[in-house]
Symmetry: C3
Subunit: 349 residues, 3 copies
């Protein structure tokens, strides 16, 4: 797709400075800009790049005036970064909208109820009693289990697996390979050392606007629901165990894991590879640093680090001392020698 500078300017309600007929067919970072691409300059810190960039069109803030000659056509807008982002979003949507209709061969059970303008890719499998909202996109090789309900405008990327009875909200995005609703890890120990499986007949609920990363796993509840609240963003390779709940607008980085029955509050941020033990309550606005291990409840607004995790400031103090632990030990041994000397002198007196 090719776009003229003047058309982009019209769409963004911006002003063209330079040749309005120049066309672009891709985007670039300003420092890597090549002919035929569109870039942006928002942060004055990077101004020097604009004089060297080969990008054909550059979005700038309306208060920007070049100090030297610029090769590119400029488009002046109220907020160059926002304008750029909205162009990208539009571009992505235009592209995604190329995927429509039901490709063959795919498997859509006759009892499934499907909305308007949906996409079902080849080799996707829609089980009995599934309900798909409008404009849902089911990419190839996705599996949707029995009785699953999926809201409007949700996207399931290739190979996503949704087990029976799960509920997925509207405008959710689930990336390739994610598994929603597999059995929780529950086993009753038997006298002979073996384990009997505890049936896991609950489900997973993703509320609206949830994003789930590639190969992330969210297990179903033993009974009832594992719940991921509105606006939660999960990165790749995360584990959410059975009976957990993650609160609104909480963001979790890659490879973190939450053990069974723990609840995480709203607006929290969990770093990569964080581990949260089972049956805990993490309240709202909590921040947990990468690789931390949480073994007890966390109060509102706490900032934690380390394994086992402690308060951020304390953790930094401890880390600083840890680095100097050999010196500390050396000092201690010196004191012991001094003390010995003094005690010997005393004995002599």
């Amino acid at each position: 797709m090719e776009f003229k500078a003047e058309d982009i300017a019209k769409f963004l309600n911006g002003e063209v400075v330079g040749n309005p007929q120049v066309t672009v067919n891709n985007v670039s970072k300003i420092e890597e800009g090549k002919a035929g691409t569109l870039a942006f300059l928002a942060n004055p810190k990077y101004e020097s790049y604009i004089y060297e960039s080969e990008a054909s069109v550059i979005l700038v803030n309306s208060d920007f005036f070049p100090k030297r000659e610029v090769k590119a056509t400029l488009i002046k807008v109220a907020d160059a970064y926002q304008a750029f982002a909205s162009l990208l979003t539009m571009y992505e949507q235009a592209r995604a909208n190329l995927r429509t209709g039901i490709e063959q061969p795919s498997f859509v059970h006759e009892s499934a109820v499907i909305g308007e303008k949906i996409y079902v890719g080849a080799f996707a499998y829609i089980s009995r009693n599934v309900r798909l909202g409008n404009r849902v996109k089911i990419y190839p090789q996705v599996f949707v289990g029995e009785n699953v309900v999926i809201g409007d405008d949700t996207i399931l990327y290739p190979g996503v697996k949704i087990y029976n009875d799960c509920k997925i909200g509207s405008r959710c995005i689930v990336h390739a390979g994610a598994v929603i609703g597999a059995d929780g890890f529950g086993f009753a120990p038997q006298d002979d050392g073996s384990y009997r499986k505890i049936p896991q007949i609950g489900n997973v609920i993703l509320e609206d606007d949830v994003e789930v990363g590639a190969n992330t796993t969210i297990d179903c509840s033993t009974m009832g629901s594992t719940i991921i609240r509105k606006g939660v963003k999960l990165d790749n390779l995360i584990q959410i165990a059975h009976n957990c709940e993650v609160g609104e607008n909480t963001v979790i980085a890659a490879q973190a894991g939450i053990a069974g029955s723990s609840k995480v509050g709203k607006n929290c941020r969990l770093g990569g590879q964080v581990g949260i033990a089972g049956h805990l309550t993490i309240r709202d606005n909590v921040q947990i640093g990468a690789q931390a291990g949480i073994m007890k409840d966390v109060q509102n607004g706490e900032i934690l680090l380390g394994s086992p995790a402690v308060d951020l400031k304390q953790s930094m103090r401890i880390s600083a001392i840890l680095k100097n632990l050999p010196q500390l030990r050396h000092d201690l041994m010196e004191l012991q020698r001094d003390m010995k000397k003094i005690s010997a002198q005393k004995a002599d007196e």
Copy 2:
């Protein structure tokens, strides 16, 4: 599916107290019970819930006598929890048994030998010389490589991938996205800094009654077999490297990883995100806390924590001191000041 209280009682060999004609079509926790559901009360601690529950039928132990009025129909049984669990298991099986036959399109190589009453979902791929036992369930989009043997009653959930030559026992459950038998991570360093791949031509053996979680990976052996013994339960996103062996009835929580050629004994329990280095021997009945890092052999019955891991008691003592490390350092500095003072006095005397 709807069930009458009197039919459930007959099945469980229990006694109805209340209206035997009441029907249920789902289960619930007693504290969240709604009309039309079946709940149970096993632990006397939760007795108060029975007087408020809206559940239509509640299983209770035969020695339970309500102190106040109960709306629900009660069914008295020897062990309310076990009875509830067996109902769930039955319900799950009834539901799973709806999946039978070979759906189209699927790919079953003409040389494959398949048992009775199996299910092969659409878009599943069964390679050359595969042997499937009776009542095996292969969900959609599963891949089964050449010469793979799968025992009776085993379930492979959607998207499971089994590489060539692996052997899967009877009554195993492998969850969506798990990969069994991918190449072990073996490379020989070359003089120019590059690596030459060491062929990985072994396989993976899962013995009977093994459960493998979603997106877990178990690599094939370089030669011979990576072995997961009878009754092992693996959670989601676990990594088992080439040439490993995991002993009978060992249970491993999510995101743990075992490096190449390490052996874990029987009846062990490994916490989430545990890491075990390569070429180690972990003996039987070992317990390892979440996020621990194991860098040397572990003896029978040890309980370990921390990274690098130490004995549980020692680890707790160390953790307690670590939290107070700033105080410890402060005390040390105070001692140094005192010592300086004393030494100065001595010099003065």
Copy 3:
């Protein structure tokens, strides 16, 4: 497939000692060798096994002379290990070459350009404008997005998912369930606590000779490319975030994670479960121990351990002291008591 000792010897340019007519149909470790298998002895440390092994044919170095009777037919070659490895590689290739042609049903968009002697398995999906090199093997249930380019001799194992616009080099191996090019984890916080998705329109580039483990995820760049350089080997369940770069011939063990925009140099080795924070630069020849947490830039050739990571020697010193922390604290308290006593005596004087 059966092979005669004399034919193997001819292929390896080796010399037969014993019966040249003996046949083998599989390989084994020398200590586990069974009749009908081929084993090797390279390390003199294991010489004793050769006198007990049941293997039918054993490769040995040309300077090896048995001290006792050996049942097996020996084949003497310049380097027994290398000879064995090259036999395995040949065997693997012969076997892989059984997979050719385009199986049905599969989905290959009419605009896709495909090379010679390729394999496309059933239920694989090749999108619009894809270009596949010669001898590429696409296993069943693989998804290849729009405009993806794949070089010669590359293998994508079952269920691999490649998002739009990614570039995969020649001779790459991507294992089952790996996801290449899913959206980077980028969200702009909004005033109401929710997050707006930042479009991720870049791609992933795998250069030549890269191997990617099962269920590993490599996210696309926000703009531009996430780059995995020539010869990199990635184990299973690894997370590489958006805008990262991994340098030539770097090797990363299972479950490690690299956060957004970090760069790792050439010839590095990262242990299992390592975490690298975002926006860091790790230079060349760096080694990082398992479970380490990297929170700042790393210089050429550093060897790091721990979380937060420190230099190897310092880390080992710290670990040693940590184990004895209870003793250290005890010594400190003893000193405090002694000091108190002395101060009391001073006051008395």
